[in-house]
Symmetry: C2
Subunit: 187 residues, 2 copies
DNA sequence: GTAAAAACATACTAACTAGTATGTTCTGCG
DNA sequence: CGCAGAACATACTAGTTAGTATGTTTTTAC
């Protein structure tokens, strides 16, 4: 469904509430009748967008890079660098689409919050599991809680995405250096 | 100016664009004529709100707690705990008003971005300076860049504020534990 | 081939939006 | 007092919003 992809791009740049249905359909070749035939209302389109566009994309960038049995700290770093630097769909000025939606809709709509929470928890659990297994197999030290570290890492990501909107690419690069240093303390 | 305080509260909860002038004036005893007598337009009210309400409040919670010559790591931790837990004006579900505005308006309005960047840089520089001085006087190790650490710390704050919106208070508490552990690696 | 249902398209509506036009009231000053 | 400007108040406007009502076309089932 092409309309979800276009809606995703518009909402990524302008926010969910600020992106009107009229603008979405004007930028595709879909009429209002077709829109409301496929979606009960704007909210259900937003939820479909999270499920069908955002979630799969986030999973590919956040969780899959961790599916390695090699150096897990390196994998975590590569995942972060991939998200911040290499991802061609994201724009520093617009941040992360998932973080944006959490920020805007988390407090306003419980269904949005539920769908977004799933993405975040999935990511945290993947990091946590990786760290735990590395600890068990003796590849990294056991003096850090995997759960705490996973939350700490994901929080850092959300924050630097926010900061990048006003400070630009430089803060991504500085952040990555600090992040690498942090990861080295987990060894 | 009482209207700025009320507008601040409404925007904190609902976002800047989603808070209409009509709603602001309806929740105060100010009419539209008075509103547009005091502010050229909605944008200039938003900017006044940042300068006169948000900036002073943020400075008091973010920078002033660092004005100590004692244990700087403890001061940084207390600042973070004060921001996340003790601040009676903030609500976990609504996050941090400054972070919210950066997220929503940073990409859309250069004047907003400038005003918000000032707040963030002021905070980062205060942390950076504290860490640098502690390093110079030998109270903490010199193996970490104060600039990188300051950015890392502020990013973490923004991120956990975002995450708290969907994960609730528990993630604040877990974050603070991880944060304390991180600070201990700077010793 | 035709009837029914799916998949649209067009024109509308009621509520809301920032902002304006045009008034009125208050407040200090000579 | 009187009068000028500051400080409001009220009524309006043009544009936008999500959603609907009512159509038409396209596909599917038999």
């Amino acid at each position: 469904m092409d309309i979800l992809q276009k809606a995703f791009e518009l909402i990524y740049k302008n926010g969910y509430q600020a992106t009107s249905i009229d603008v979405i359909i004007a930028s595709t070749n879909v009429t209002k009748g077709a829109f409301f035939y496929h979606f009960k209302n704007k909210e259900s389109m937003g939820l479909a967008l999270i499920e069908e566009v955002l979630s799969p994309g986030m999973y590919a960038s956040m969780v899959r890079p961790l599916e390695t049995s090699e150096d897990i700290l390196e994998a975590i770093y590569q995942m972060m660098e991939g998200l911040l630097i290499d991802n061609p769909f994201f724009n520093i000025a617009y941040g992360c689409p998932a973080i944006n939606l959490i920020e805007e809709m988390g407090p306003l709509n419980e269904a949005f919050a539920d769908a977004l929470r799933k993405i975040v928890l999935q990511w945290q659990e993947a990091i946590q599991k990786s760290l735990y297994e590395a600890q068990e197999s003796g590849r990294i030290a056991k003096n850090t809680s995997p759960q705490q570290a996973a939350l700490f890492i994901t929080a850092g990501y959300g924050g630097v995405r926010n900061m990048g909107k006003i400070l630009g690419k430089n803060c991504y690069l500085t952040y990555l250096k600090a992040f690498k240093h942090y990861l080295s303390t987990l060894k």
